[in-house]
Subunit: 65 residues, 2 copies
Amino acid sequence: MKNIKLKLARVEKDLSQDELSKIVGVSRQTIGLIESGKYNPSLSLCVGICKALSRTLDDLFWEED
Amino acid sequence: MKNIKLKLARVEKDLSQDELSKIVGVSRQTIGLIESGKYNPSLSLCVGICKALSRTLDDLFWEED
DNA sequence: ACTTTTTGCAATATATATATTGCATTAAAT
DNA sequence: ATTTAATGCAATATATATATTGCAAAAAGT
C-alpha cells in the first residue's frame, strides 16, 4: 500500500523526492519506492525521514487496523 | 543503543525472546539483537513486534533527542 | 546443588534493502 | 508549444538484515 502520509508531509514541506533524499542521505529511488509502497525501509531510515519532515514514526509509518 | 522499552514491553507481557520471536515469525536471535541494539530492523518487523506487544511504533522505537 | 529456561555469541548462508546509472514519462513553468 | 523539473521504471551491483545451527553462560525453578 502506498504511503500517502509520507508524500503529504513531504509536499507540505515543499520538498521534491530528490531534495528529501539528499537531506536524509539516501537515493532518490529509495524515497520513491517507499512512497509507492514497494519496499520495506529500515527503522533508521524511517527515523531519518521523520526527523527531516518534523514528524514521528506514528505520524508517517503507523496504520491503525 | 539498547532498546530498553522493547524489553520492558516484552517482559510486561510475560514473554521470552523465543516466544515473542515465534509470535512475530522471526528468529530468536533477531529479537535478541534488536533488544541489544545491534541492528536495524525493517519497518514491517517493527510493526509486527508492536502488534504482538499491543504498542505503537512511537512507544517502542521512537527516541526524542 | 541440580535442572531447565533464557539469553548471548559465532560462523556461515540467503534474502532483500539500497545504490547507481540511464532513459521515459509526466507535470510545471515560461 | 517548449523547456525544465519531478517522478517512474529497469537492470545490475553491493551492503546488510535475517535464518540457521550449535554451544556457552547466566538466570530461574525445584
